[in-house]
Symmetry: C2
Subunit: 436 residues, 2 copies
């Protein structure tokens, strides 16, 4: 077929700082998806976009084009509103696990399409797959039915949703073009808009363990995504949250399931509980529900009931206990004092290297691998106390995990103990969006 | 094998404005040549280099790495010095044809490795292939022997010379990354340094018909290349020459051979003769020869003798006349006056569309296609005079060629006739280099 544009012309326009037209964007995304624009052309365009940026109109059009590359789900026939949450990824960030059933228990359906982890931040599907029998893949009909009967579903995105994004994301991963805000924003939002949710709350992480190290960059990304969602008719807001230190004490697939169940049982670490409740309030408010207190739904067991039904509906055993790692090592306090630094990147990379994460898409992950923090930020220790336990199924990984702990925080190490110091600062740093 | 670097790290370093180390450059060029760095990674790196630039040390290392990807010729055993010329490409630029035998006739061997045309600027090999029997491909031994016996050779570069450059050039062509000065400079210079010439004179074209439209950009490219040659031990200088109007009257493969033979016979257009002699003086001076006047060698027939031997040595018939085009159309003057604009780009694109050039590497070219300028810049015309003849073997091409003439010079047309005006300005605009 004769193509409407020449890929080189489109690349050169952006390369030289120009604005792409709606027709150029529609064409290049479609042509890339069907293979008429080659990988080496799209990667060069992605680098030009990274260097030159895109304006709001271009990003919105790019997002629309990616949505148009596939199917779009529709939950408007459900008897309740729908809300979803997306996190840009953090260390120990298991919030989706207690959050989805909690929000469902408060009367809002949660159609959460999740991913697997790549790099040092974990993936929600990897975590849930630690539960024996649980399956991530549902058909659209199964997803629909589970939303109706349980109210919450966490599953893998089908291949029909934004296929352009899938292809482009894999390309960006190997070409140094992941860190382009227009492409990050359109990648996330194309999937979330195609997913058909009515309300979307973005948890944009900031700090050493996050993709965005800097608050201003995170704010720009959040504002871009809120605009995209709003333009597409999705009630969208964003919380900017601290990821300089891990969330909770368990970092690793099985460890995070265990901690999530503790939260659902009314216990668990204070920071995980706090963020879960704040995100739940934001999702409920977006759906117009302000008279239900999610803290009560955690305390009275309604959230736990929904969790059990959600896990069972996807073949999982809600009573299963998570496996213990066959090999462990302890990290001890080297002095008396207060822990004034527990660096998220150091802990995240250590857990990843222990086997909790994968280096390449096709690698398996270990259910029991990870890091458990007996002591964390702001807690008092005595010399020789166990600060953390390292868990793995493959003990040859300990050395590289310990090296990651030592190298973190610009070579100054993951853990710092001082005579005195503060605990964790506020988790939520800022909020963007008109939904209240 | 385990790779010394990760391609993404190298891309990200340049993407963020950093400086690549010598080891990174050596690795990435070598790994790309053997396929361990993928096309989509190299194109993203090329776009980052285009946006962020490279410093003198990086460009020199990149050039060395491309030379190291293949073989390097050596003519140090010849009894005379060697000199070569490289033009960045212009319209009607047939200078290599008379220049190589002229310089050889003055006692300096010319080992000229040339290319084919792509786009609106012609290729030297395409022009010479208009001569029946002439062959472009010589072995290194044949090239060596012809330099010894005739003193001049114009042939295709063998596949063993800078293979990294060949692969990278083809990639840049389809990814919008041709226009990166570090990559242009290292591409040209890696081939010329590997070619083994002792002296190199660069003819950097400036103006509408050239790759560089702007004198400052051309000066930057010229200075970068002169530095690279000098650093590699090649006596290098550059002339910046005007390419706002075509060189001479014949534009097209056979037409340019005919005009070159006229120059070698002591005639020909004044601008072609002038530039040929200036470049010859520059090459001879670089080789330390200042007591031989190339103008005399043109007049007394020595250059023509060398031309005839050079063509014969490669199987060509020096007495052959160039074919006439089976289809012609004339462009007439629309008023009385002086031609104050003869736009190089308009004429170049018209000749290209008539069949003198190719759109894709694998396309054939026509020997007789092109444009002949009966009248050019600064010449007086009367309404109805023939300004140019369009030549082609495929008459369906006339319409697109005439459209190119009408569209040139920002839509104002290729030819402008005014009541009065100046002729051609100086051909040589500037000179860069220490060689004298």
């Amino acid at each position: 077929m004769t193509e409407a544009f020449d890929a080189v012309d489109v690349i050169v326009t952006k390369r030289d700082g120009g604005t792409l037209t709606a027709d150029q964007i529609d064409w290049v995304v479609d042509a890339y998806t069907r293979g008429a624009v080659a990988d080496e052309q799209m990667s060069s365009l992605a680098m030009a976009i990274l260097q030159r940026g895109m304006d709001r109109t271009e990003i919105a059009q790019w997002t629309k084009a990616m949505i148009a590359s596939g199917e779009r789900l529709d939950f408007s026939d459900l008897p309740m509103p729908t809300a979803d949450k997306h996190s840009t990824g953090g260390v120990g960030d298991k919030i989706t696990l207690p959050l989805a059933p909690l929000v469902a228990a408060c009367g809002v359906a949660v159609p959460q399409l999740s991913g697997r982890g790549l790099g040092h931040t974990g993936g929600t599907l990897d975590k849930l797959e630690s539960i024996p029998g649980w399956r991530a893949s549902l058909s659209n009909e199964e997803m629909h039915e589970q939303l109706r009967s349980v109210g919450a579903v966490i599953c893998a995105a089908g291949s029909g949703l934004a296929p352009a994004d899938k292809k482009l994301y894999a390309l960006r991963d190997v070409t140094g073009t992941v860190e382009a805000i227009p492409l990050i924003a359109s990648s996330i939002m194309s999937k979330k808009i195609a997913e058909g949710t009515g309300v979307l709350v973005l948890d944009v992480k900031v700090g050493s363990g996050a993709f965005m190290k800097d608050l201003d960059m995170a704010r720009e990304l959040a504002a871009t995504m809120v605009d995209l969602g709003t333009d597409a008719g999705v009630t969208t807001s964003a919380l900017l949250t601290d990821m300089s230190t891990p969330l909770g004490r368990g970092i690793g697939n099985g460890l995070e399931v265990t901690e999530s169940v503790e939260v659902l049982a009314g216990g668990g670490p204070a920071d995980v509980v706090e963020l879960t409740i704040m995100l739940a309030r934001e999702m409920l408010a977006g759906a117009g529900i302000t008279d239900v207190d999610p803290a009560e739904a955690l305390e009275d067991g309604r959230a736990m009931d929904t969790w059990r039904r959600m896990i069972s509906a996807q073949g999982g055993d809600p009573d299963a206990t998570m496996p213990d790692a066959p090999h462990t090592e302890e990290v001890l306090a080297e002095s008396d004092g207060v822990i004034t630094r527990m660096d998220a990147l150091g802990v995240g990379v250590a857990a990843w290297r222990l086997g909790a994460g994968r280096a390449r898409k096709e690698d398996p992950v270990q259910a029991s691998a990870g890091v458990f923090l007996h002591k964390t930020l702001g807690e008092t220790v005595r010399k020789g106390d166990v600060i953390m336990t390292l868990n793995t199924e493959t003990p040859e990984r300990f050395d590289r995990a310990k090296a990651a702990l030592a190298d973190a925080c610009d070579g100054e190490g993951t853990v710092l103990i001082e005579k005195s110091g503060e605990g964790r600062g506020p988790i939520v740093l800022d909020r963007i969006g008109t939904a209240t």
